[in-house]
C-alpha cells in the first residue's frame, strides 16, 4: 500500500500546482485530470493487493479516453506505463512490453514537460522491478532522481544529460549514461530539499532505489542508506502529527 498512498499524495500535488485556468477547456481538462489521478490511485491500490486484472482494466479505459484527446501527453504516458506494470503482474509480458515502450516513447518526446514525468518514471521503474529487470529499473530510478534534482536546484537543468532517455537495446551505451546519472544522484542527495518526503514522489524514488539495491544484491549499501530514509520518514510523520493536532 506504500506505493498507493505515495502516489495518491504525489499526483494530487501535481494537479494542485497547476495554475487555475480561466477558459472552459482548461477547467474541463483540470477536472479530467483530477478524476484520472483518483483513478490511478485506485488502480495502484488494486495492484498492491494483487488484483492486477482490475487495475489494468481501469487504466485501459483511461488510455482509451485520453487517446481521443491528447494521445501524446505525459498523462497518457503515465497511464500506459502504469498499465504495463499491472500487466506484468498478470503475466501478460508481451502486452506489458508494448504498453511500456509506447509510454516511454511519449515520455521521451515530451522531455521538457515536467508534469507527471517524475511519477511516470517511478512507475516505469516499478514496472521493470516487477519484471525482474533491476538494472533497467535502476536506470529509470536514477532518471527520476535527476528529475527531482531539476526541481530542487536550478543549476541541475543545465547539467549535461542531454540524452537522458531510456533505451534498453544495448547495455554498453547504458552503462556510460548510468555512471553520469549516478554521479548526479550523489550531488542531488546533498540538497536537503531532495529528501523532503512530504512530497511522496521523492520518497518513492528513494524507496525504489533501495528496493533495487536489495534486488541487485547491494545489501551493505542498502543497509547504509535505509537508516537515513527511516529517519526522514519518522520526522515527516512527527510533522504531520503536529499539523493534525494544530488543525
Amino acid at each position: 500500500m506504500a506505493q498507493n498512498d505515495s502516489n495518491k499524495v504525489a499526483l494530487e500535488e501535481v494537479s494542485k500546482t497547476e495554475a487555475p485556468s480561466i477558459d472552459k477547456d482548461s477547467k474541463k481538462r483540470e477536472r479530467f485530470e483530477s478524476r484520472w489521478v483518483k483513478n490511478l490511485n485506485r488502480a495502484e491500490a488494486y495492484n498492491e493487493k494483487g488484483y492486477y486484472k482490475t487495475a489494468s482494466f481501469m487504466m485501459r479505459l483511461w488510455i482509451k479516453r485520453e487517446s481521443k484527446n491528447r494521445a501524446n501527453s505525459n498523462l497518457m504516458a503515465t497511464s500506459l506505463i502504469a498499465k504495463s506494470k499491472y500487466l506484468e503482474g498478470l503475466g501478460e509480458y508481451d502486452k506489458a512490453e508494448q504498453a511500456f515502450e509506447r509510454g516511454v516513447h511519449i515520455l521521451d518526446s515530451n522531455r521538457v514537460d515536467p508534469k507527471y514525468r517524475l511519477e511516470a518514471l517511478n512507475l516505469a521503474s516499478e514496472s521493470k522491478q516487477a519484471k525482474g529487470e533491476f538494472y533497467h529499473a535502476y536506470y529509470l530510478s536514477l532518471l527520476a532522481k535527476y528529475e527531482i534534482g531539476k526541481r530542487v536546484s536550478t543549476s541541475m537543468s543545465s547539467e549535461a544529460i542531454e540524452a537522458a532517455s531510456y533505451k534498453q537495446d544495448s547495455l554498453q551505451g547504458f552503462a556510460s549514461q548510468l555512471e553520469q546519472l549516478e554521479n548526479l544522484a550523489v550531488a542531488i542527495n546533498k540538497a536537503p530539499a531532495s529528501t523532503n518526503y512530504s512530497n511522496a514522489s521523492y520518497f518513492k524514488t528513494d524507496y525504489n532505489l533501495l528496493k533495487i539495491n536489495q534486488g541487485r544484491g547491494f545489501y551493505t549499501d542498502g543497509i547504509n542508506s535505509i537508516d537515513s530514509l527511516l529517519a526522514h520518514v519518522s520526522s515527516t510523520l512527527i510533522v504531520q502529527k503536529d499539523d493534525l493536532k494544530r488543525k
Binding site: K49, Y52, F134, Y135, Y219, I226
Partner: protein, 510 residues
Amino acid sequence: MIQQKADLLVTKAELYSNKGDYRTAHELFSKNSKNLKSLVSKKSKSTIRNNLGYALSIRSDERSKDASRYMKYAYNRARRSNDISKTSRLFYTVFEEQMDLFEEQRKKKKYKKTANKYRRTILLKYRRKSPFYWRYRLFENELLIYFDLKFRKAEKRAYKIAEKLNEYFPEKHINNKILNDQLYSIYIRQNRYDEAEKLLLENNQLTLWNYGQTSPIYHMSKLDEAMFQVTFGSDFGRAEAIYDTSFSLIVRPQLNDNHEKMLPFLNKKGALYEKTDRFQDAIAVYSEAKKIALDRFGESSLKYGTAIERLAGAYISAGRYKDAERLLEQAVEVVRKALGKRSIEYVTSLRSLGELYSINGKYSEARKVIEQSYKLSKKVSDQAVEVPEINSIEEMADLYITTGNYDGAEEILQESIKSRTRKFGDNTYQLITPYQLLGKVFLLKGAYIEAEQNVQKASDIALKTLSDTSSKYIDALALLSEVQSEMGRFKDAKVNLNKTLKGNEKIYGK
C-alpha cells in the same frame, strides 16, 4: 507515511537477512512483529512480509524446523488477509518458499500437499494457459528430481514446460533461470557436464541483462560457474579469475561471513588451491572456513566436521601428517555422530583417514578404513552430486600397490578409468591420477610398454588441464623417466628427468 515506515522496517530486516547477518535480522524481525502492531493491521502486507522474512532468515540459519512453523504462520495470515488477494505475487511466493523448505527437509508428503494447494490457488483465477500455471508445473517437476529420482521423466517434462514457458516469457526474462537451474540439476545427476555448463553460461547472460555488470547477484552467478569448474570441469584458470574478481572484490564486501553461501564459496576456493598445488593457500582458506563453521554451528555440528576434514586433506597434501591425523580422527567422529555412517561426508572423511594411515605406514588400519569407505561409497553415490569422485578407488589402488596386490589394483583402476571417461570425457583432470597409478602398476609388473602409454596419457592430460609447473604433471614426468630408464631408453629418460628438475626448480626454487 505510516505504511511507508512499516515497509521500511521490514525491508531493513530483510536486508540484514539477505546479507547473512542472521542474528541482527532475527532481532529486527522480532522487534518488527511488536512495532508493526501499532502501525498496521495484523493481516497487512507488511506483517505478512515480516513473517515470511523471519521464516526465511531462520531457514538460512539452518533451523529448518522453526522455519517451517513460521512459514505456516505466514501462509495462514496471507490466506486470511484482505490486504493481499489470492492472485498476489506475495501469496505465490509463500507457496514456493514452503515447497523449497519441504524439499530441503525431504518431506515428500508435505511438498505434494503444498503443491496441490498451490495449483488449486492458481487455477482459481488463471487458466492452464497462464504462465503462473506453468511456473507451478516447474516446481511440481522437482518432485521427480529430488524425491523420486526419475531424471529422464523429469527431463522430458522440463522440456515440455520449457516449450510452454517460451510462449509466455520473453527470451531474457529472469524466470527462465528457474528452468535452467532445474535442467542443470538433471544434467549433473546424469553426468552430462557439457550441457550443464552451457546452462550456467546462459544463466550468466540472463543475470547480466537483468541485474547489470556491477551487481553482486551477477557475480554470484559467475561464482556458480567457477564452482562448477572446480568440481566437474578442469578450467581452473577461469575459476581462479572469477574468484579473484567476483568473489574478492564484489561479492564478499556485500555478504556477512555467516551468509549461507559463504562456506560453499570458501570450500571451493580451497579446493581450487589444492588442485593447483597451492597447499598453503588452501590451508589458509580452509582454516577460515573452519573458524566460520565453529562460530556459527558449534563443535559438534556436521558443518564443523566437514570443515576440519577438508583442512586435514590440505594438511596431508602439504605433508603435515600429524596435524592431519588429529583433525581427521576428530572429523570422522563428529560426522558419524551428526549424520550416521550412510552419508557422503562420513565416506569422504574415512577416505582421507585411510589415505593418511597408508602414508604413515599403518597398512592394516588403512586397509580397514579404505575398504569401509569403498563399500559405503557405493551406497551413497546417488546423493553424491557435488562429490563426483566419491569412491575411494585411488586410495584403494594405492594401498594395493603398496601391499603388492598388483592385479587387484589394475582391476579397480581400469574400472575407474572407464567410468570417469564415461562421466567426464577422455581429457579430464579426474583421469590424471588413475592413469598414473595404472602406469605404476604396469611398471611394477614389468609391462613397460603399457606403463609408458598410461603414464604418457597422465602427463598429457596434466599438461593440458593444469600447467607445466603442476605437481601432477611433474610427478607424471618423473614416473615416465623411471619407466623409460627401465626400458633402456636413457636419452628419453634424461630429457624427462631434466624437465622434472626444471619444473621442481620453478615450484620450489633452486
